[in-house]
Symmetry: D2
Subunit: 342 residues, 4 copies
């Protein structure tokens, strides 16, 4: 049973700590945070974990096999690199780093040492996204040609990170998990609607090599919270609404059929399918538990997790391209070929 050390017990860290503690196959051995108050909270909840103020001590601990990093993104690279060099497996909060170069260095380091490098792309471990993946894989919805996501709410504004790096990261991770096609270019528009603020709203268009398109609408200044995604396949369409308590996923047997024939008969050849709708049952298992189980499984089996370091790198590449495009009012940015080697 791998001993896991957690660095960072701030906003998200307590959730990771709880998940590690709940997974039978893992032990929460140590928690590091430079804040004494955070450490005290951690100690009350996890009395058997070693408490450390310096993350370097945690990485130096030989009883620790794996490190989970839940600190501000600017610190990810140093901590993850040190942990890998100390021979520890690493799970790091999203995004993996704040630039492409650092991410690729981490990927290389993990590969060289045959260590697991995994990113906390939480959404791909939810029952909903897993079910969508199944519906794509088993052919139920046909080839995917469109993914259109709206992820807006009021707050929580970040000081150092734009809405792209804060919210769009979720959809880039989901896209990377769901869509086999390769993204080739990104055009983005964004605006900062508060003074001295990073961008608070962005619209991102992603072009894929098979003609598919994705679009992400992220906004910190919407009066209502919306988490809604349309995923269109040639056979069926999915609406994934994460704000619903039940029926998060609705599969519509709808679309446009185009019969073969002469172009001037076109109107007669277009037919609309307005068929039934179906809301499959979805696993309600908590995503973080599934994710920690995957981390442990990958450590023990050397099987790549779906949100491995390369996935984290691809997501950062898209975040960076979107940020550059937004600075140029939508000027399209080509993506280099970082895709799955499989």
């Amino acid at each position: 049973m791998p001993g896991i050390g957690l660095i960072g017990y701030g906003y998200w860290g307590p959730n990771l700590a709880r998940a590690i503690a709940e997974v039978d196959a893992a032990a929460l051995s140590a928690i590091a945070d430079m804040s004494p108050a955070a450490l005290e909270r951690a100690g009350r909840r996890h009395p058997s974990a070693r408490l450390l103020t310096d993350w370097r001590d945690l990485i130096a601990d030989p009883a620790i096999d794996a490190v989970v990093i839940s600190t501000p993104v600017s610190t990810h690279f140093d901590m993850a690199l040190a942990a890998l060099r100390a021979g520890k497996h690493v799970l790091v909060e999203k995004p993996i780093t704040d630039n492409v170069f650092k991410a690729s260095l981490l990927v290389e380091e993990a590969a060289r040492r045959s260590l697991v490098l995994m990113v906390d792309h939480t959404f791909i471990y939810t029952g909903a996204v897993r079910k969508i993946k199944d519906l794509i894989t088993d052919g139920s919805i046909g080839d995917v040609y469109c993914y259109d996501a709206t992820r807006v709410n009021l707050g929580l504004l970040q000081k150092d990170v734009s809405v792209i790096w804060d919210l769009a990261v979720h959809d880039f991770a989901i896209l990377d998990f769901l869509i086999e096609a390769r993204p080739v270019a990104i055009s983005a528009s964004a605006a900062a609607f508060l003074p001295n603020s990073p961008e608070t709203m962005a619209h991102l268009s992603i072009y894929f090599d098979d003609g598919a398109m994705a679009h992400l609408n992220v906004n910190w200044m919407s009066p209502v919270k919306i988490r809604q995604t349309l995923i269109s396949g040639r056979q069926r369409m999915i609406i994934y609404d994460d704000m619903q308590n039940s029926e998060k996923i609705k599969v519509y047997d709808r679309g446009v059929d185009l019969a073969e024939g002469q172009d001037d008969d076109r109107e007669r050849r277009v037919s609309y399918r307005m068929g039934e709708m179906w809301a499959p049952q979805i696993s309600t298992k908590e995503a973080l538990i599934t994710e920690i189980e995957q981390f442990v499984h990958s450590i023990e089996s050397a099987e790549r997790p779906p949100s491995d370091g390369e996935s984290g790198l691809r997501v950062v590449e898209m975040l960076a391209a979107a940020t550059r495009s937004a600075a140029l009012r939508g000027q399209p940015m080509e993506l280099v070929d970082l895709r799955r080697a499989s």
Copy 2:
């Protein structure tokens, strides 16, 4: 009472004919359509109107003071120009023409002859859009910094016209009516998800000279119909949902307030207002009736209608820029300064 002649009795023409007939201050004098079947339908509904197969005869009729044109967009220019040259006032279906140059010629011709040139931008005559205009004008929502519209459904695919010219035209017309700031650039992404088809989906970002942004999401291939727009002002935010039977407009007293102070205190200075919501009562008067009344009023008073020819020209300019940008994967297109001279 002006005698009005209608050219085109196809999909939309019957609605215009009914509206003209219902407005007491106007008379439906003649209807022209080259289809005998259409003319027969027209005659049954409007027995007192003269029926003509050639639109040139309608324009030549001295009893006719004004011409309403409801034909395919490619024919708008010739008909409108001929009507203006014959001294008739003109109301033409949206978009006014299929390119900027033709639109500007019509505007010039109308100005030279002091005739009314008006475009059927129907939405700006609805109770909902009028109410939003009032809320902007009276300062209720503060300076508008964001307009974000979703206008998607399944079908009705057009053969010759892309989803931009078919659906986004509505939002460009609403934007032109609501927003005083000048649009300076457009970035658009689009895709055609059917073979030999114009674009079926598009995302358009519009930049304004005061930093405001608009975004339009238009799609013919959505399993559900959505007509939803967020309009964000510094004081309040509006959600306009045209699919609701009642409460089409909801005004939210919500937003982000930023107190003055040092930058490193920023988090303490950001506060979220999560105040009440309010759905004002909206006039249920039919938009087409209001529009025809405006047309008659402009003819009689020489007062410019809100959807005058220049508005039509600005809308076409934006449609053309969006189309060019979409062909270049979001490359931003600057808009020339065609704005209100006032």
Copy 3:
């Protein structure tokens, strides 16, 4: 092709006239209304129909095979009886009469003369209710044990008729069509919230001989319009929401399963099924067309329509029992055995 005469061209009559005219297998031969203005409107829409001010003339017309009655309920009995005695088939607006005795006389008269007596229980001819019937008949939802309907809106208040006779009549007709079990008693509560008004709100509980229960909530003074019904079967549950444009019917694979065993183990034996949801496709054919086709078919084939006179009688019996119970604050009223002889 039977010649059909329509008596009454007021609120609902024009809809019936249009439906009769649209059905190829029927001819709208005559329309009677004592109002000259109504007759003039009728004549413009249906120029080939004979126009009469006295309904007795219509019934006396030998060219007329069948009579459709769309007049205030208090007049139904006299007109329907006269029509039957003149050998005409009869379709009468709901409710068939304003009391049980009159309804039973009509049923007897029609039986004696082998004429079709049918009631305009429109809802049972909708695609939605037909689909629910199919789902019950084919065993998809299992034995029905609960029907719970909410039918509320603001207005249209009636002067002479309570909300029970105006709105609950629809649900009684649907219940009579869907549920095979026999209703044995009714308890109702009602109140009139306007002075000198019939009841404006009512709650009705109907007990069936197999233990099933139905409940109807009808209200003319609700700020929002709701048309929602829960139909619970042992296997699945249906929610029928008539205000939805699409997905009017949702079938939930949900319920409570009780394993066999000792009573004190009960908690361990109860399990909740929270399975998938499914919205079947529903015919969008207009109910009135289906209804008129059924009327013609029954005339020609002597096959009983589902909303025959006996159904109308059972509905009136339930309306009368509910009204009596409401006057006694819920005192339960037993229903006599008027059910299907089959």
Copy 4:
């Protein structure tokens, strides 16, 4: 600062314990539960509280000023009576007892000893119900004439308690808090749709002495969860939807106005108001915290809490009457005059 002892650390007790611990003005002195496992959980969360297996020891503790009882309803009476006789103030979970006689004995005992007797009618301490009370008290909605609640979901079936005592109790408590008029009679229908089960569904109609009516729809076997209440006043109507994250309360400026005049002009005199809708801001303070603060305040000031013992007694009287009526298929049960003496 009163020392509070909690009896019962099962389903609801932990919430009460947490609330007591969070309120600064109170101290959680002791927790009693006969289950060692429950006590161990309690000890981990509340290390400073005394842990007892026998509730009698808790009541005997002189350091304890007040007792909170969170045990099965059948035990409430003995524990509450013993606590009062030991001079302790008492807060007991709802319903106060399982019959009227026991409730009245507790009320008398508390009055004789001038001790606070309060019932955990949690909903009346929510921001939403408080806001509704304000809107009634300040005249915003006018005289209330109708309260119509739907409280349905799938599970949690109880073994010993019917859906009336489990779910309708919430609405009776809210009614008792909101409505000044006196309930005079109840008619109820109910059914048990599982073998050897208490009633799983019920419809309750409550008649008030001023002509107002309330209706409660409670059901453990609904495929979807609904918590929706219509509260109609002469001026405005409220829809209270507890499943909404925001806008739980919507106030509609809608209704029916009846001008004075002759009865035969009635139709012309009825007018419908379809005015604006308004969703006021609601306090998000947790109800249990407000409730415990009220308990402490009542102990220290001797000011009656809104959910005092007499309120608990009135609620039990209504529960008992509803249960009797349901056994007699809606036979109305008169309520004795237990109302506020004020």
